[in-house]
Symmetry: C2
Subunit: 139 residues, 2 copies
């Protein structure tokens, strides 16, 4: 069932950023939240790998460009307002987080304390160079 | 394992909005993305039900306040930057979307077309009054 598409997703301008949820296509684990501008969206479609816009670096960010942990797009969903994107991905390397965890959401809020519940897949100091450490932070 | 918490989540001001992913605690389905300011976060913790900040209505929005489809908080996770919140919820009524679907992400992007893949749980015209129709849109 198709529908004609006009400005979907709803990027209000070339600079406008939409939030993007990346979810593991198999396990259903929510891996991270990042942002796309129109160019990132178009590059994601063109390459089949997640390309985000880094708000801190103010440039396109090919997820995994340094770590190798790319996200291969399996399915894309849009929400009812067409202003949020959900990617179901295959996460190369098994870890989406620059801190080496499968998911960026590796800490649970327990009555005002944060409990680490995720499993560390890699050691960030072994994956990122010192000067570029934490380059893959999503925001 | 706990850690001392300073301004976590990282609301930079009382008006600052952070994105919040709501995920079904049992099925793992991503239900919606909405936003919280500090007050919404505090009311969520205090009540045990999701309270968001509606960007369109510019006020707190107790999810389900009109439809009855509240989201009971089961677990809360924070991402590595502490600027995104993941809620694992029990979705009352079985539908998070104001259009009557389980998830707001009920349409899949298929090569430039949107395919409805979600199942409609309720008819929005039966749940929302005409004048208030679509009041629960997240943005």
């Amino acid at each position: 069932m198709g529908a004609p598409l006009e400005n979907i997703p709803n990027f209000e301008s070339d600079e406008h950023l939409l939030p993007v949820v990346a979810q593991d296509a198999v396990s259903g684990q929510v891996l991270m939240l990042a942002y796309m501008n129109r160019e990132a969206w178009e590059q994601t479609l063109a390459t089949g790998n997640a390309v985000y816009f880094s708000r801190s670096r103010k440039r396109l960010w090919k997820k995994g460009e340094e770590s190798g942990n790319v996200q291969r797009i399996k399915e894309i969903y849009l929400d009812c307002d067409e202003d949020t994107i959900l990617l179901k991905v295959e996460q190369a390397g098994g870890a989406a987080c620059h801190e080496g965890y499968q998911s960026c959401f590796f800490r649970r809020w327990d009555a005002g304390q944060l409990t680490i519940v995720g499993t560390r897949v890699f050691d960030p100091t072994q994956v990122y160079s010192q000067t570029k450490s934490h380059q893959e932070k999503p925001s």
